[in-house]
């Protein structure tokens, strides 16, 4: 037994991220670790990789109890992690990043650059990566960065490699490249833990599956005998039939029309109409241009050619301010950074886009702010003590509701939701969906970007799939994950760098 975890526990402040983490990994095994966002997969793996320390439970490495205080200790015994977000030094070269923290040294702390370059080149050639050791990392595509991370983990001669959703930003051919590497590692008797929440793509590489839900290990089984339906059931904790599903309403007049929109290097000739009362899902891989489309509609990026109509009227949107005036709202994907003023109270966030309605001659009326905030809290069922509570202290789901309330208060008619459930736990997701549904029922038009296919299937009336900046197909709401994946990935051959 390479790695064994028994009843692992980890708490962050008031949140018990991991309650009972169990996992057994053998050498030469590809072990899939599955679960929804917030299930505790990443926390468990961060403990294994020495990035965090357990609060309780047993952590055995090759039969011996261990507790790594930092990543260096984990690397010393042969555990390496390929991270989801690129954890590289952007100003340094590919070779320097591969050897970061484990430089080839000459006496007196001097680094042996020629040797590192040569070793890096050999490694890159061996795996046929489209990289050069001297390239600077900030010039690489997300896929290129991912490959640097993989090179780094392999170079360190690890006996256990943890992949944290490495393919979420890769095209299909690149994904297969990653799978090939995983297979090579398995042949070399390296243990591989592969975190994912994509159900299908791993049938071809996985051996064993362990599923986490709400911080607990729910189930572990060989991949061969585990059906997809049961996998989903274990992940969400209830049979498929009882999962939230929106009842569509008949669509009204066209609210948002996009005609022949092209912008930047990515977006090409996009045509789309979203009607009142409709939720349109936007599917595709990361980097397909979905976020870029939202940014273009919202006036963050300028539109090169094409037109945007709101309620039939041609509008020219050159800045977010003009988008807001036109009745468009954006709920951005990185809530913490661009959606929410975390250090401010809920009330300040709620009235942020709507100061005019609560102020008189430039003076803000505290009473009006309170009234507006209380109304928003009631309407969106934001769970908090009162409007004076800091927005950053709320749970992910309630934070998201605060972001939405900002636009509801403003009376927006068109909502762009970019990954609205990112970092939100399972229960709260449904509440966000319910808010979206309610907005649609009141006549709003909603465009929803999501990388989680199950989510699109649950909420969207129809799903438009994007690939490399183009729309590649449209599917009715009652479609299958396979069809979306097919449209999202086929013929993909994005270039690295």
């Amino acid at each position: 037994m390479l790695l064994e975890l028994r009843g692992l526990q980890k708490r962050f402040g008031g949140v018990q991220a991991l309650k009972k983490g169990d996992l057994r990994v053998e050498a030469g095994e590809v072990h899939l670790l599955m679960g929804e966002n917030g299930a505790g997969k990443s926390t468990m793996m961060k403990i294994v990789a020495g990035l965090q320390q357990k609060d309780g439970g047993d952590f055995l490495w090759q039969g011996q109890p261990v507790d790594f205080r930092n990543p260096a200790e984990a690397q010393q015994v042969g555990i390496a992690m390929v991270h989801q977000e690129s954890l590289l030094a952007p100003h340094l070269s590919v070779a320097e990043n591969i050897f970061l923290g484990r430089e080839e040294l000459l006496p007196l702390g001097f680094v042996n650059r020629p040797k590192m370059m040569a070793l890096a080149r050999r490694l890159i050639d061996e795996h046929k990566f489209p990289l050069q050791p001297e390239w600077r990392v900030d010039r690489l595509s997300p896929a290129g960065k991912q490959m640097v991370e993989i090179c780094r983990a392999i170079q360190h001669g690890s006996s256990l490699l943890i992949f944290d959703e490495p393919t979420s930003s890769l095209s299909e051919s690149e994904t297969h490249q990653v799978f090939r590497i995983v297979r090579t590692l398995r042949e070399r008797k390296v243990g591989v833990i592969y975190i994912t929440h994509r159900l299908e793509e791993l049938r071809e590489v996985g051996d064993q599956v362990t599923i986490l839900r709400d911080g607990e290990t729910i189930h572990s089984e060989a991949l061969l005998t585990l059906t997809t339906d049961r996998m989903i059931q274990y992940m969400v904790g209830r049979p498929l039939s009882s999962i939230y599903r929106r009842e569509p309403i008949p669509p009204g007049k066209p609210m948002l029309e996009i005609k022949d929109l092209s912008t930047g290097p990515l977006l090409k000739n996009l045509n789309l109409t979203v009607h009142a009362g409709e939720i349109v899902g936007l599917g595709g891989l990361v980097g397909a241009g979905r976020t870029e489309l939202c940014r273009a509609i919202f006036g963050i990026d300028s539109v090169d050619t094409g037109e945007i109509r709101v309620e039939g009227k041609l509008v020219r949107i050159r800045s977010p301010r003009e988008a807001v005036e036109a009745g468009i709202a954006l709920i951005p994907e990185d809530r913490q950074k661009t959606g929410l003023a975390r250090a401010l109270p809920i009330a300040a966030n709620v009235v942020m886009a709507n100061m005019e309605s609560v102020s008189n001659l430039g003076f803000v009326s505290a009473a009006a702010v309170k009234q507006t905030t209380d109304k928003a809290i009631n309407r969106l069922r934001i769970r908090c003590e009162n409007g004076a509570q800091l927005a950053g202290r709320l749970s992910g789901g309630n934070q998201q509701k605060v972001v939405i309330s900002k636009w509801v208060t403003r009376g927006a008619k068109i909502y762009l939701f970019d990954e609205p459930t990112r970092g939100i736990d399972v229960g709260a997701k449904v509440e966000v969906f319910e808010v979206m549904d309610e907005l649609a029922r009141q006549g709003a038009a909603i465009l929803m970007v999501s990388s989680e296919l199950t989510e699109l299937l649950q909420v969207a009336d129809r799903i438009v799939v994007m690939r490399q900046g183009r729309f590649t197909g449209e599917l009715p709401g009652r479609t299958t994950q396979e069809e979306i994946m097919h449209l999202a990935t086929i013929e993909s051959s994005e270039k690295v760098s």
């Binding site: 990543p71 260096a72 970061l100 040294l105 680094v111």
Partner: protein
Amino acid sequence: MIQRLLPFLTLIVLFVALCFLSPYFFTETNLSSVVRQTAVINIMALGMTLVIISGGIDLSVGSILAMGGLFGTMAMQSGKPVIVGIAVGLLAGCLCGFVNGTLVTRLKINPFIVTLGTMGIIRGLTLLISNGLPVHQIPKEFSYLGEGRLLGVPFVLWLLVICALAVHIILEHTRLGRYAFAIGSNPDAAFYAGIPVNFHTVAVYSICGMLTGLAGMIEASRLMTGQPTAGQGYELQAIAAVVIGGGSLRGGEGTVLGTLVGAFIMGLLANGSDLLGISPYLQQAIIGAVIILAVTVDELRKRKIG
């Protein structure tokens, strides 16, 4: 490429222009005095380059300069040999840097705030210890450090070249230097790679402190006094030199050569204005404008590539 060389070209153009504009510029006396004047800022700026590359900043170097100079001269006043006095100055600076680095890493507070605090603390302690009075009883030989000549050029120029080479080698060829880049470039990546981030951050601040201590001794030697009020405002000049030379306050970028060029541009601007009779008040404004201009050009270059 042209934009990358711009600080260089600016320096050359400035130099040539001054040769034509003033008959007193290209004389040995004047050039020596430019070298001596800029050496202090230059050596501080070398340490600052390290700190800024690692994503930090040190506002306390002006105060460290004064403390180093004071302690060094006090040691000489008490009868210690000159070389011991200099060592005391360097050590005092190094210790101040060590404290800065330790506070930044242990308290996990923004280095701007930490060093804003130690700027006051170190200055206050220096004034307290000296009672606000300068140290005058210094052996005559000590003046060689700041005013002496070796092989026909000012001794401080040799010192500057040695320090610059040392910092360049540290940055480009040693683990410490590469880690400074990695930490400034992406601190999380550095930590996740198993780099002892705290240790190397402390090391970087300590080296900066030691170089500042050396600058303090040079300053003391030129004035032949240990001035507890020395070095006020020098921190901004040192930071400006790094930034004009292409260093990024976001970390991960900067070069020794760039910093030297930056410091000499400021030195020549000051010297040229003096020779041409431009008001010292206007000088400050000119240097301020140059800082903004240099960083704007650099940003434009990066955006074009990015």
